[in-house]
C-alpha cells in the first residue's frame, strides 16, 4: 500500500474515534464554539486530504458532512439530536470506507448518494425528511463498522494534518506530526506550542485555541524545531520487549551466579549490567505505554447510542484518561470495559421515570476512572443505578441450580451478588440488543483474570454499583512467589497473593480438617485450603505443617498449602506448550534465574477446585451415623473444656456475620431463612460476639430451630458416644470420652425446647448452663 495512504488510514482511524467523542460532547454543549471548530477542522482535514490523495468517494461524503457542520458553526442550523445522528452516520460511512481502504489500498466501489443527499438536505434546513431515515440507517452502518476490523499497523498518534506532512515532506517529514503528537500528550501545554491538541484533545480544549487552522499552517512551516519522537511499528516494539524479557531472565541468572561467588571479579560487572538491564527494561516498557483513554474513546458514542436506544438519560463521566498502561494490556481490557459500561447503561441505570420515582435525578451517571496504585492500574466503573437485587439473583441461582437453598441461606448479600461473576449466570431478564446474550460478567471476569487482574464490586440495592478492576501495568514481567511442594517448585503470581501464613501444630495457625477438607482459622474466619501436593496428585498424605499462601480469587479468600517459600522473583510469563495447555491449574511457565523451568500456578483453577471441596464439607454436616455405635461427633469450644455433640443432631454449622444479630425482647436472634433464630450461649464461653463472625451450631429441623453460638470448632471425629457421667447443668447431657479427651455432651433437645417456649412465653434472656 502507498505509504501516504497507510499513514492517512492510521490517522483517520484515530481522528474518527475522537470525532465520535467530540460529537457527543458537542450535542451536550451545542454552544461550545471550541468543540465545534475542532470537529469542523478534523472533518475538513479528512476532506482536504481525500481530495489530495484522489479518494473521491470519501471526499464527497466528508464534504457533505462538513457542510452541515459549517451550518452549525454559522448558527444557521440548530444542533438537534437528529442532526448529530446524521453526522455520526456520516462518520460511520467514512470509517467503513477507510477500513476498506486499509484492507485493499483502494476506495471500494459503492454509492453514497443517499447519505450525501440527506446531509445536503440537512444543510439546507430540510431536516425532517432525512431525519426519519437516519436512525434506521445508522445501526446498519455501525454494524458494518463493527464487523470490519481496522488494520492499524502503527501506533495511533496525534491526528495531525496530512497537508502538513505533505508540505514538510522532503524537508523533514516527521517533524510536524511529532510536534503535534508531543503536544497531544501534553494537553495542558499552551495552545501556541502546537496546533494539534485542539483537534485531538479529549479533555476540554482551552478557549484560546479557537482559531487552530491558521496556527496549524503557521506551525507546519517551521519544521526546524527537531524531532522529539518518531513513529515505530508495533512489531519492532514487540520484538524489543521479548528481547528485553529474555535479557531480564539472563540477568537474573547471572545475579544468582554472582551471589554464589561472592569474591568473583565478575560481581561488580554483573551488578552494573543488572542496573542497566533494569533501566533498559523500564525504558522499553515505557515505549509500549499508552493512555487508557485510547481504550475509552469509543465509549461516549456507545453510551450515547445506547441512551437513545433505551430511552434513558445517561451522563458518562471519565477521569484519568491519561493513565498509561501497556498496549497489550490495553487491547485486552478494551472489550471487557466496553461490556461493563454497556452493562451499567443497560442493566444498571433505570429509565428516567423509574429514577424519578426512586427519588433520583432523571439523568443516570456512569463514572469511569483510572489511576495507578503500586505496580497496578485501577479502573473503576461506577453507576448510580438500581444496584444488584440480591433476591432476584437468588431466584436465578436456584433456577440455574448454581447453589442449593441451604447454601444460599447462609450467604451474605455480597456473597449472593458475587454470583453474577460465576459462569452460566446472567441476570438480564430480556435479551436486549445491548447485553444479555448469555455472556455475562463471568466472561469479563475470566478475561480480566487471564491477564493477571482482579475484579471486585460493591453494590447497594437501589442505590449504586461500583466495579473495581485491578490489572498489572504490563503482562510481560510479573513478580511471583516461588513455592515448593514436595519436590516440585511452582510460581504463584503475586497479584493473587494476600499474605503468607506459617502453619504448624504448635503455632497460632493450625491446619484442621472438617470431614477431610482442610481449613485454617485465620483471624476469626475459616479459610478453606487447597493442599497443593494432593491437588496435583503428587502425594496422598495431607499436610498439617507448612506455609499457607492466602490467595484471593473472584472475591473469595482461600489458602494454598505448600512446604516452603523459596523466593520472590520477577518472572517472564511464557505460554504453555500445546501439549500441556489443557492441564488444569497452570497458567503459564517460565525460566527462573537458576535456569530451571517452573510452572506458574493458576489460582483461578485452584479456587475452582476448592468449590468441590467446600461442597463435601457441607454435605458432611448432615451425614448421620453410618456404623452402629460409632458416630461422627463434633468437638468444639465454648467456655471451659471441650464440648461435644453428635453431628447428626447438628442441622447446620453456620458462620454468621455477628453485626446482623438483632435483639428481640432481650433475646439475641438472627434472621435465618426467613425466620428468627434464637442464639444461645454456654456459660463461660465468649458469649455473643458483637462484631466479626461467629460459628453457630443450628439444632433442630426447619420447624423448630435453636442456635448455639460457640467459640470455635475443634474437630469432627468418629467415636462411640458414651455418657459416663450425667450432668445436672442445663443444656448438658453429661460427660464422656471422645477421641481420648474428656468432653461435655450437649443436650440439644434442651435448646430446642427453650427456643420453643421462648416463642410462646417470650421469656427473658436464657443463659444456658446457668439456668439450672
Amino acid at each position: 500500500m502507498d505509504d501516504l495512504i497507510s499513514e492517512f488510514v492510521t490517522e483517520c482511524t484515530e481522528s474518527l474515534g475522537l470525532l465520535d467523542q467530540e460529537m457527543v460532547r458537542f450535542e451536550q454543549n451545542p454552544n461550545d464554539a471550541g468543540i465545534l471548530s475542532n470537529i469542523f477542522r478534523v472533518m475538513h482535514t479528512i476532506k482536504g486530504t481525500c481530495g489530495f490523495l484522489g479518494l473521491g468517494r470519501l471526499e464527497k461524503v466528508a464534504h457533505a458532512g462538513e457542510d452541515v457542520l459549517g451550518k452549525f458553526r454559522d448558527g444557521a442550523l440548530p444542533v438537534t439530536s437528529e442532526a448529530v445522528s446524521l453526522i455520526l452516520e456520516c462518520l460511520d460511512r467514512i470509517r467503513t470506507l477507510i477500513e476498506a481502504l486499509a484492507e485493499t489500498g483502494n476506495e471500494p466501489a459503492g454509492d453514497d448518494s443517499a447519505i450525501i443527499s440527506q446531509l445536503r438536505a440537512m444543510a439546507e434546513g430540510k431536516a425532517p425528511a432525512p431525519a426519519a431515515a437516519a436512525p434506521a440507517a445508522a445501526p446498519a452502518a455501525a454494524a458494518t463498522a463493527a464487523t470490519t476490523t481496522a488494520t492499524d499497523g502503527g501506533f495511533p498518534v496525534a491526528a495531525e494534518l496530512l497537508e502538513e506532512c505533505a508540505a514538510a515532506e522532503g524537508d523533514f517529514p516527521v517533524a510536524a506530526e511529532l510536534l503535534a503528537e508531543v503536544a497531544a500528550a501534553e494537553q495542558t501545554a499552551p495552545a501556541a506550542a502546537a496546533p494539534a491538541p485542539a483537534a485531538v484533545a479529549a479533555t476540554p480544549a482551552p478557549a484560546a485555541k479557537a482559531p487552530p487552522q491558521t496556527e496549524a499552517r503557521a506551525e507546519s512551516n517551521g519544521p526546524g524545531q527537531g524531532a522529539q519522537s518518531i513513529r515505530v511499528t508495533v512489531d519492532v516494539l514487540e520484538n524489543l520487549m521479548t528481547l528485553v524479557s529474555e535479557m531480564v531472565l539472563t540477568r537474573n541468572q547471572l545475579l544468582q551466579l554472582a551471589r554464589a561467588n561472592e569474591g568473583s571479579p565478575f560481581v561488580e560487572s554483573v551488578q552494573r549490567l543488572s542496573r542497566v538491564t533494569s533501566e533498559l527494561q523500564e525504558g522499553v516498557m515505557k515505549t509500549r505505554m499508552q493512555p487508557i483513554g485510547n481504550a475509552w474513546n469509543k465509549l461516549p458514542r456507545i453510551v450515547r447510542d445506547l441512551a437513545n436506544e433505551l430511552g434513558k438519560k445517561i451522563d458518562l463521566v471519565m477521569s484519568g484518561e491519561e493513565t498509561e498502561l501497556d498496549r497489550q494490556v490495553l487491547e485486552l481490557i478494551k472489550d471487557p470495559l466496553t461490556h461493563m459500561v454497556r452493562n451499567s447503561a443497560d442493566h444498571g441505570l433505570e429509565r428516567p421515570a423509574d429514577r424519578t420515582a426512586a427519588g433520583k435525578g432523571d439523568v443516570g451517571t456512569i463514572k469511569l476512572s483510572a489511576f495507578h496504585e503500586g505496580g497496578h492500574i485501577i479502573i473503576e466503573i461506577a453507576d448510580d443505578g438500581r444496584g444488584l437485587n440480591a433476591e432476584k439473583i437468588k431466584a436465578k441461582i436456584l433456577e440455574k441450580g448454581l447453589a442449593t437453598p441451604d447454601e444460599l441461606s447462609r450467604m451474605s448479600e455480597a456473597d449472593i451478588q458475587a454470583f453474577i461473576m460465576k459462569p452460566g449466570f446472567s441476570t438480564a431478564e430480556k435479551i436486549t440488543n445491548v447485553s444479555g446474550r448469555g455472556v455475562g460478567m463471568d466472561v469479563v471476569r475470566s478475561n480480566i483474570e487471564k491477564i493477571g487482574g482482579t475484579i471486585q464490586f460493591v453494590s447497594t440495592y437501589g442505590k449504586d454499583s461500583t466495579f473495581t478492576i485491578k490489572i498489572p501495568l504490563t503482562l510481560a514481567i510479573v513478580s511471583a512467589l516461588i513455592v515448593k511442594s514436595r519436590n516440585d517448585r511452582f510460581a504463584i503470581p503475586q497479584i493473587a497473593v494476600q499474605e503468607v501464613v506459617r502453619a504448624s501444630a504448635r503455632s497460632e495457625y493450625r491446619i484442621e480438617t472438617l470431614k477431610g477438607a482442610p481449613v485454617l482459622r485465620l483471624r476469626n474466619r475459616l479459610l478453606p485450603l487447597v493442599d497443593l501436593a494432593s491437588t496435583l496428585t503428587v502425594s496422598d498424605t495431607p499436610m498439617n505443617e507448612g506455609y499457607v499462601v492466602v490467595c484471593k480469587q473472584g472475591g473469595s479468600l482461600f489458602g494454598v498449602v505448600v512446604d516452603s517459600i523459596s523466593d520472590a522473583e520477577e518472572i517472564v510469563v511464557k505460554p504453555l506448550s500445546s501439549l500441556i495447555k489443557n492441564t488444569p491449574f497452570y497458567s503459564g511457565n517460565t525460566i527462573l534465574g537458576d535456569g530451571s523451568v517452573i510452572l506458574i500456578l493458576d489460582t483461578n483453577g485452584l479456587a475452582s477446585r476448592l468449590g468441590a471441596g467446600v461442597k463435601t464439607v457441607e454435605t458432611a454436616n448432615v451425614v448421620s451415623e453410618t456404623r452402629k455405635d460409632v458416630r461422627n461427633i463434633l468437638l468444639f469450644k465454648a467456655g471451659q473444656g471441650l464440648k461435644a455433640v453428635p453431628l447428626s443432631e447438628v442441622h447446620r454449622i453456620e458462620h454468621f456475620d455477628m453485626t446482623k444479630v438483632e435483639y428481640v425482647q432481650g433475646q439475641a436472634t438472627i434472621q435465618y431463612r426467613g425466620r428468627l433464630l434464637n442464639l444461645a450461649t454456654l456459660a463461660g464461653s465468649e458469649g455473643i460476639r458483637t462484631q466479626g463472625h461467629q460459628t453457630v451450631l443450628v439444632f433442630g429441623s426447619d420447624e423448630n430451630q435453636a442456635g448455639l453460638a460457640i467459640d470455635t470448632i475443634v474437630d469432627i471425629i468418629e467415636d462411640e458416644l458414651v455418657v459416663a457421667r450425667k450432668s445436672t447443668a442445663a443444656g448438658l447431657l453429661g460427660s464422656g470420652i471422645v477421641g481420648g479427651k474428656a468432653v461435655d455432651f450437649i443436650h440439644t433437645p434442651y435448646f430446642l425446647a427453650e427456643a420453643a417456649t421462648h416463642i410462646e412465653t417470650s421469656s427473658n434472656t436464657i443463659a444456658f448452663g446457668e439456668a439450672a
Binding site: 516440585d488 506448550s577 500445546s578 492441564t583 517460565t590 535456569g595 510452572l599
Partner: protein, 154 residues
C-alpha cells in the same frame, strides 16, 4: 527386498536422511529434516496432572520445550532410574518438542524403496505411529510418524 546396502543407498539422489534411535530395544527412524537437535539428558521439570507421556519441561537455550517420553508413548515399561534418556528435539506444528529415547544412533540415507509397508500383523498402537518398516542387520526399524506420535490423545 534384502538388507539395505548403505553404501549404495547413500549415493542415490532420491534418498532421505533418517536419524535412528532406540526405545525399549526397538529401532526407530525419524526423517533428519524434522530433527533440530540431539541432546544428552536435561534437567526436567515435571508437570503434575499432565498426560503420563509428558516427561516434563526442559530449558533448551532459553526456550521452554515439552519433553515426551517415547517409552510411555509406545506403551513400553519405564526406564530405570540409572538409565539416562537422550533428547531428540523436533519441530512440530511450529512448536519445539523433545522426544526422550534410550539411545540415538547413526544418520542413515534411505530411499523410498527401502521402506516397506507396515506388516498386517503389527500391533495397532504401533501401526498408528509407523509410516513403514525398514529391514536392517540389527533388526526391523520403524519409520516414526511424527504427526501421530505427537497426537497424544490418540
Amino acid at each position: 527386498m534384502n538388507v539395505v546396502d548403505l553404501a549404495t543407498v547413500r549415493n542415490t539422489a532420491s534418498s532421505t536422511d533418517y536419524v535412528t534411535f532406540t526405545v525399549g530395544g526397538q529401532h526407530f527412524g525419524l526423517t533428519a529434516i524434522d530433527v533440530r537437535d540431539v541432546l544428552k539428558t536435561q534437567a526436567l521439570t515435571r508437570v503434575p496432572m499432565a498426560q503420563r507421556e509428558i516427561a516434563g519441561l526442559i530449558n533448551l537455550r532459553g526456550h521452554i520445550v515439552t519433553a515426551v517420553d517415547l517409552r510411555r508413548r509406545f506403551g513400553l515399561p519405564d526406564r530405570t532410574s540409572e538409565e539416562r534418556p537422550m533428547s531428540i528435539v523436533i519441530e512440530h506444528k511450529g512448536e519445539q518438542f523433545c522426544l526422550l529415547a534410550d539411545s540415538v544412533g547413526d544418520v542413515l540415507a534411505l530411499s523410498a524403496n527401502d521402506v516397506e509397508p507396515n506388516p498386517t500383523s503389527m500391533d495397532d498402537a504401533w501401526r498408528s505411529i509407523s509410516k513403514g518398516v525398514v529391514r536392517r542387520e540389527q533388526g526391523l526399524m520403524i519409520m516414526l510418524d511424527i504427526a501421530t506420535t505427537m497426537n497424544l490423545a490418540a
